[in-house]
Amino acid sequence: MGLIEVGIAGVKALAVLLMVLNLSAILLWVERKGSALIQDRIGANRANILGIMPFNLGFINTLIADPLKLLTKEDVVPKGADKFLHFLAPFMAVFPVLVTFAAVPFGDQLVIGDTVINLQVADLDIGILYVLAMSSLAVYGVVLGGWASNSRWSLLGGIRGSAQMISYEIAMGLALIGVIMTFGTLDLQAIARAQGHHFFGVIPAWGIIYQPLGFLIFLIAGIAESKRVPFDLPEGESELISGYFTEYSGMKQAAFMLSDFAESVVVAGLATTLFFGAWQVPFLFRDGFHFPGGAIVALPHLLIVVMQILSFTIKVFVLCLFQILVRWTLPRYRYDQVMDLGWKYLLPLALANMLVTGVAIVLLG
């Protein structure tokens, strides 16, 4: 284990963390502008630097102005709250979600001279289980946030939220069984590489072709896990004020908001890896494009790597956009409907999906 390898791993880790954070921040702005677009409003348009900018740079200004505003807010800890747990809760909400991305491959491999760099922070042979294990820890941010605040709204939101998160974790795990059966591995990079060929030479062999129902269940369970509309009961502004982070202000509150968006990014990242060919670009192989009909366009190695990373990022972003679109389209469920959907519909459906997959694999060989 040389120092160089540790350095490379560090650079990859930093790149992935920054990617998740930046995507989350961009999503925050896209959500504000996108919701305005959907609701026929103008949306965030006041951010300007001391009024000297000739026009509203919106996006960049909001990226700077929002965090600055939150950073300078007073940090209020309510009376009777447990100070340490009040601090720990936002940490536990964001941290497990951020580190999840360590096992998700964002590209194939980069070859510099003799060194082959696998474009994935940690090439774990239990990749899917690592992702599930880390995301299963995110529930403590919600539970502790609700408990530490010593507020009844917070506690209600925390209990509701954790019950909802664990209910959908089952459906999410079961939806992934079909994918694992199809590819026969838990290694996310191996799954990504297995999606590189094409059916009949034209249709990319992405996971969604094998597992359409699995993808649907995974996406619904994923949106429910990240507690976003139509599953935002734990926050439910109209009844619980802000749910488990009612008593938070400043950057701690921002951390809870960020964890929502980061979870969306993680759900999109995992869906991309398992169902949409990860970093694969249709017809692009390690030496260039191989179009159906035999046309081959050779490309330099670096360009291919960049295209693959771009492909992954764009797919993740589109899936995030889809989640925002869902959020601003559907009304909120009632709590009993949320629990019913998880236990009475998605769970049996995921079991059925697994059995059908099993029978299909046995029949088709």
């Binding site: 284990m1 540790v6 990859k12 880790a13 930093l14 992935v16 963390l17 939150l70 950073l71 300078t72 807010k73 007073e74 940090d75 209020v76 800890v77 309510p78 009376k79 009777g80 601090f87 940490f91 941290f95 951020l98 580190v99 991305f101 360590a102 922070v121 940690a122 774990l124 042979d125 408990w147 605040s149 010593n150 507020s151 709204w153 506690l155 209910s167 089952i170 795990g173 079961l174 069984i177 694992i180 059966m181 026969g184 591995t185 004020i241 400043g250 950057m251 701690k252 951390a255 009993d336 629990m339 019913d340 236990w343 009475k344 769970l347 059995l355 099993g358 029978v359 694999i361 046995v362």
Partner: protein, 120 residues
């Protein structure tokens, strides 16, 4: 094999630093109110005076959900290794898992029938 986990360790360290910095940001740079009003750190209950302690007892239903979650989580956990070797096991493997799922499916049916999944 352990070298795989170097990346995980580094990600944990970097992630911890970033998130710690973020969460403690307002405690360091945030404004501090000079004239403290007595009700400033009162718990928010829509402007009403707080009515009694916050940590009351909860519906047993949540406990039931947590128990069911553990049971089915263990079930799913058994399926991951099974799914990897499914192609090697073939039809006997399918039958094995069918038996396993059928017994637990019986449990799910029982819970459902007893109304433990119903929220009223």
């Amino acid at each position: 094999m352990l070298s795989q986990y170097i990346g995980v360790v580094i990600t944990f360290a970097l992630g911890a630093v970033i998130v710690l910095g973020m969460v403690s940001g307002s405690m360091i740079f945030g404004a501090r109110s000079t004239s403290r009003r007595a009700d400033k750190d009162e718990v928010f209950e829509c402007g009403n005076p707080s009515s009694g302690p916050a940590r009351g007892r909860f519906s047993v239903h949540f406990y039931l959900v947590a128990i069911l979650f553990i049971v089915f989580d263990v079930e799913v956990v058994f399926m991951y290794p099974w799914a990897i070797v499914f192609r090697q096991l073939g039809v006997p493997g399918l039958v094995e898992m069918l038996t396993f799922v059928a017994i637990l499916g019986f449990g799910l049916a029982y819970v459902w029938k007893r109304g433990a999944l119903a929220w009223d």
